[in-house]
């Protein structure tokens, strides 16, 4: 199974790079998501990402004032990116494990196609196994 097969419809919530960790936390809870995309400031900037892990194990564990800490202090920037749509999903999983992230951004040349999450991987493998069992 290849990367292109598991690229589902991605929903992601964006947040400004000037936000604080508190803003990110509120946005995460209200949008019922566990990660946010931090938009870039210009074409030479990179996108960033902040996850539930970054907030809880980062900002809260460090005892920071959430309303005064910029989200960029705890964000992952640049994103972990993949662009080879023919890659076997085994290596997608390995990349997640190596980089210690649970979301990977997928680009085809210049086009942003979406995010792959660890749940997408589980779904794909479970589906494949179910098919294999029928045969």
């Amino acid at each position: 199974m290849e990367l292109r097969d598991i690229l589902g419809d991605s929903k992601h919530v964006k947040i400004s790079p000037d936000s604080t960790v508190g803003d990110a936390l509120v946005s995460m809870i209200e949008n019922k998501t566990d990660f946010l995309l931090i938009v870039r400031r210009g074409p030479n900037d990179s996108y960033g990402m902040v996850s539930r892990w970054d907030i809880v194990e980062g900002a809260i564990a460090d005892g920071k004032d959430l309303g005064a800490t910029p989200v960029l202090d705890y964000a992952r920037k640049p994103l972990v990116v993949m662009n080879n749509l023919d890659l076997d999903i085994r290596w997608v999983a390995k990349k997640m494990a190596n980089e210690r992230v649970s979301k990977i951004a997928v680009f085809d040349r210049d086009d942003f196609l979406g995010f792959i999450s660890d749940v997408d991987l589980l779904k794909a493998v479970a589906k494949k196994a179910a098919k294999g069992a029928k045969k």
Binding site: M28, I60, D65, V125
Partner: protein
């Protein structure tokens, strides 16, 4: 606006995780996770000298799929985390709960109160607790809270 006023007791939740047998395959763990939309499963102990284990989606991605192993052959007991990471001080500052998660690299901690099982605290519990505290602080300041 800080999380300093919150303690573990404010955010700990008394619920049970779905369980999975230690000898079941990772595939059945995966199916159970997707079916219930809960990505943490508890592995019961065999006897009172044994420890409980836990298996999460991260374990499956990193230890089965990434290694190219067959999920029907790898058993839950080979990839689970065991024993559980626990906390026993219910009045612990939330900051140190978060730090305990960061130090041990887990997202779920079991909480015991004087030897009795009390509940679990997860990343989502902590976020919710801080969120509610921020909301209360805003209400007290007289700022009307805008909800989605």
């Amino acid at each position: 606006m800080t999380a300093a006023l919150l303690i573990l007791k404010d955010v700990v939740k008394t619920f049970e995780f779905p369980t999975i047998g230690r000898d079941e395959s990772t595939l059945s763990a995966m199916n159970k996770m997707l079916e219930l939309d809960k990505y943490t499963l508890l592995v019961p102990r065999q006897n009172k000298n044994d420890a409980y284990g836990i298996v999460t989606k991260k374990d499956i991605v990193a230890r089965v799929i990434a290694e190219g192993k067959d999920p029907t052959k790898v058993k839950v007991k080979d990839i689970m985390s065991k024993p559980l990471v626990i906390l026993t001080n219910l009045s612990l500052d939330l900051r140190w709960v978060a730090k305990a998660m960061a130090n041990s690299g887990v997202s779920t901690i079991a909480v015991f109160d004087k030897g009795d099982f009390y509940g679990y605290v997860t990343e989502a519990c902590i976020l919710e607790g801080v969120y509610n505290a921020l909301r209360r602080a805003k209400l007290e300041q007289g700022v009307e809270f805008v909800s989605c």
